[in-house]
Subunit: 439 residues, 2 copies
């Protein structure tokens, strides 16, 4: 029979079990942390009506949407989890409890140009709060990020925070309200272009020498969080928006201190803007200190009006998103993430001959009843092949059950990490395994 | 601005957070049980190349596939997790360790005629073992099903098992090899048609009176598992296939007993065939005793050659699938599953006034550090509105933090289930919550 080459479409990836175990471990950390902060799970369809998904217009993303018709339906695969959240919140407005804290971990699809580390199908892990203006809620996100990346253990990281009110208010204060979007776009490039180029671009935009100086002075504000906040207050910008933004930034910083988020991990950074039209308040961006090339691994911010295309109710929101697929891919490439085993089970039972199978089954049941994952190896092959299986699977313990062991009611337990073998009873094995789990 | 009505496409569902929490609880039970038996996770793309997905021909399902072109690619959404498994196993043949135990929980899509309880997007939760002929492996699936449905707590259930070798061998033995598929199709209808109709249909097929009697005698075999096995042996069918099937059934029953799967929960049932061409050995079907109308909630079986369209390697397999979306929908409709809370957090902190916010933040951090999910309520509203929030969220404990409490370093903790209020310290609250979790 002619064979079809088994393969996935370009841009659609999958992992071998060892990597998948690591991927799931990270996803579990994200999920359990989101839940600990009281965020509720939702799970919306992968497919939406195009009319609904694109109510706002997809912008740049619109070209990347997988869109097709089926019967009378014009359908699209979701390209993020924010538009579905807006649709969900508007559709179920009367049934939801506000402030509505939700988390959503799911796949999204974008027909992007395929390149390394860019996927056409990837996971997003989002949390948002809908229906609260509190600065305390803005502080929950850096606290959540701190806990998640701390548990990940990929080294130190920095959560940069800013507030769009500060940016917009500052530009308003120096008479640049009309061109604030353009100025922000130029500032966004600061780390990539020279100071001279920056000045040139600002002048082309029509800024006076005084205005250029103000902008430079503003974007060059640095120091500790307290120093930056103090310098902002010292600027004496005459804009209510600006003053309100500074107050909110200070409240956010104070709340993070109260929650004992380490000071070194969050940083007021006036150069963070995060998209030009969308966000209206606090914005976040997170980078790994040792792997700056990975870029932002978690970003987000506050927006004024989430679901204006679906409802007259003004739903304010604030949230963050972790692009787990890209993060995982990059850290795996960098050798930070390494697969160590092909199964969650650390123990494999090897009965020696069919007559030992009943005992092996009993031991397997005992282990599993004690909550310990265990593999029962069933194949009638040589001991050498059996050990090769255990080795390739990355199982730490191999339990050989032969005639002698059964006669003595013991098990021959080999630790594959240090090659030590010990004879023990089933209860002793359970104790060993439970110690492993707690370590 | 004109509004677009927020809605999902017909056949695509989603739940409110309370139901989603219950759905996830069931999914977690499935996942952790699969992992305890040593099954490794995989996660394949939602989208496959149509050429690859349909290599075998989609059969009936082909009409239901969401298929579309994008650029030069002819793409399809997967309609089950078995074809992707075949593709995965063939593609990564050299990197996988056999026997390959894998679990896969994911969404699949079928453009079915929309009706209640039929979804166009639904979760399947599959486990399969590729590359082993062992009857002991066949026994793992009823053991897994037993553990999962026991933990679900939806009452008693019955796992029906049979072996296609017994069926095929029996038909071979009475000279019906050529028409065995047709006979099976008629037997499959047994519970829906009368005995007379059954006989009539078998006669139309060309069976002699003696053959009809044999078939009836065979399908009416019933009793305890031992009785059924004994009656099968007593039939003295001259077919190696039949004898081999009976031996395998007996081995399966013995292994289930050794693993202490309760005898009342598994039943050798000769009328179970599960699809006519696909399975070649053991077959499984599971029903809920109190809710027979739900139909089979978990089925599967053994197949000879999984990936013949992708590789020359003969990959034998055996597995089961739980259709979680349908099961959940049906049990929710039947009132067996009920949402009780809108968040995983059992405790909500209510600071009385902004000046109590720092203390509330501290208590929230303490609880979360102890692993206890907690919501911090941030809105400056009346106590009545605060209590309404807690009530609607289904939080069991409301912790009020006012001036008096802070002065005395206590918390006012109200149990919403029995309306009792108690004053306690943060550490006492943590103890109370930890007791809740362990209960």
């Amino acid at each position: 029979m002619a064979k079809v080459t088994p393969r996935t479409p370009s841009g659609f990836g999958e992992y071998l079990p060892g990597d998948q175990i690591e991927f799931n471990r990270l996803m579990d950390i994200i999920r359990s942390t989101y839940e600990k902060y009281g965020y509720s799970p939702i799970d919306t369809p992968d497919i939406e009506l195009s009319e609904v998904l694109l109510a706002k217009g997809g912008g740049e993303t619109e070209q990347q949407i997988y869109r097709f018709t089926r019967g009378r339906n014009d359908l699209s695969l979701r390209f993020d989890l924010t538009v579905p959240l807006a649709r969900y919140a508007a559709e179920h407005e009367n049934d939801l409890v506000f402030p509505f804290r939700r988390y959503h971990i799911g796949k999204v699809h974008r027909a992007e140009r395929a390149q390394a580390g860019r996927f056409r199908e990837f996971y997003q892990c989002d949390i948002d709060v809908i229906g609260s203006d509190s600065s305390i809620i803005d502080a929950e996100f850096p606290a959540v990020i701190n806990e998640i990346f701390d548990k990940f253990g990929f080294g130190e990281f920095t959560i940069r925070i800013n507030n769009r009110l500060v940016l917009n208010g500052f530009f308003e204060g120096i008479g640049l309200r009309e061109v604030s979007a353009e100025v922000l776009r130029i500032i966004d490039k600061m780390e990539k272009i020279s100071r001279d180029e920056l000045v040139a671009e600002l002048k082309i935009l029509g800024l006076s020498a005084v205005q250029v100086d103000h902008v430079l002075e503003f974007t060059e504000i640095s120091g500790t969080n307290d120093e930056v906040l103090q310098k902002l207050e010292d600027l004496k910008v005459t804009s209510e928006q600006f003053q309100s933004g500074v107050v909110k930034l200070r409240e956010l910083v104070e709340a993070l201190r109260t929650m004992k988020v380490p000071e070194k991990r969050f940083k007021v950074d006036l150069r963070i803007a995060r998209g030009l039209d969308y966000y209206t308040g606090t914005v976040y961006e997170t980078t790994l200190n040792d792997l700056p090339g990975v870029g932002s691994v978690c970003s987000g911010g506050r927006y004024d009006d989430l679901a204006s295309h679906y409802t007259n109710t003004k739903l304010t929101g604030v949230g963050i998103s972790i692009g787990l697929s890209r993060l995982f891919y990059k850290l795996r490439e960098a050798g930070v993430i390494k697969a160590t085993k092909q199964s969650l089970a650390d123990v494999v039972l090897m009965p020696f001959g069919d007559e030992q199978m009943p005992r092996a089954l009993k031991v397997a049941s005992l282990l599993r009843s004690a909550g310990i994952p265990a593999i029962l190896y069933t194949e009638p092959v040589s001991m050498k092949k059996k050990m090769k299986y255990a080795d390739r699977m990355g199982c730490k313990y191999v339990v050989v059950i032969g005639d002698d062991e059964t006669k003595n009611n013991t098990l021959a337990v080999k630790n594959m990490h240090n090659s030590e073998s010990k004879s023990m009873t089933s209860s002793q094995l359970i104790e060993v395994m439970q110690r492993e789990v707690s370590e």
